[in-house]
Point group: C2
């Protein structure tokens, strides 16, 4: 199925192998039989954690993102290590970035954030039963955490104060869950 | 403000200048005074169009995305040409990809889809007053269009059938608008 849309790999190579980014360039066969070039980032995948406290607030981060030269409000997230289980990664990243550990973890959804030029996917988890502890930020990682209500987060989405896609999507899911419309 | 989070450029260069992807690698000064490397995609920005018919259905596309080797359900979207106004781009992309033109355009929000490694932003527009016409797909572009109700789209988001971030976020906005919760 979908042969009228599908593209097939002919040849390809890793054309940029950087410290963080890896760029693959493939020659592909189009549905009409012609060839073209596709370039994309090879990404290991990532996780996003939605830490929900019993009082209905969530834990967020403020982090400077160099490509856009600004501080973003984000839910905790991180890249999956080689052969790491996504849920193990989510628990690790929450603890490393915020110090919190959770007893109750629920998978919400997978999202794809740059389908034209990256194979990245992000698995979003809801974390409850939270207990504070010590954070262990990576070398060169700087962020601060804060708590906000669901109503505040949704206002910031509507007003454009939250624009990071993983955080926007997690916020909409959060509202669906706390209002009882969606049961994860 | 935010000097305890901010990173500053020291030097940098374009390390990969491909057909589609451009990778910038900068040496940056961290908040603690140390230097590190940041690599990111230089992207011109893009637009997303949410085409809403008077009967409450929306226009969607099915398109094969090579980096993930699968067909995605998406709202129409496209890259902004050099010096192009985003709204002009949105009108152009809707007509090129689907043939439709709209008389009533409303800006909804800007989103950032890969803040760790791309400076891409996407401006999302609601398009109403739609009239069918002829599409003019780019060379090497293959897609099909279909219509669905808001309820169907939201079910596909919840079930994980729609995972493309621009489409997920536009769907949540759509529901907010048609239920009267948010007035754009």
């Amino acid at each position: 199925m979908d042969l009228h849309l599908k593209e097939s790999r002919v040849t390809g190579e890793l054309v940029y192998d950087g410290h963080f980014l890896k760029v693959q360039r493939d020659t592909v066969r189009l549905p009409d039989g012609k060839n073209t070039t596709r370039e994309y980032i090879k990404h290991p995948g990532a996780v996003v954690i939605l830490p929900l406290f019993d009082d209905g607030t969530v834990l967020l981060e403020r982090q400077f993102r160099y490509p856009l030269d600004q501080v973003f409000i984000e839910f905790p997230a991180g890249k999956i290590d080689p052969n790491e289980d996504p849920l193990v990664c989510a628990k690790r990243e929450l603890q490393e970035e915020t110090g919190y550990s959770g007893t109750d973890w629920t998978f919400l959804c997978t999202i794809h954030n740059a389908i034209a030029y990256s194979n990245e996917h992000l698995d979003i988890y809801l974390a409850r039963g939270l207990t504070a502890g010590d954070s262990k930020l990576d070398d060169g990682e700087f962020l601060e955490t804060f708590r906000a209500s669901v109503a505040e987060v949704m206002t910031w989405v509507r007003e454009g104060k939250i624009t990071d896609v993983k955080t926007v999507i997690a916020a909409f899911w959060l509202e669906k869950i706390v209002t009882g419309q969606w049961t994860p």
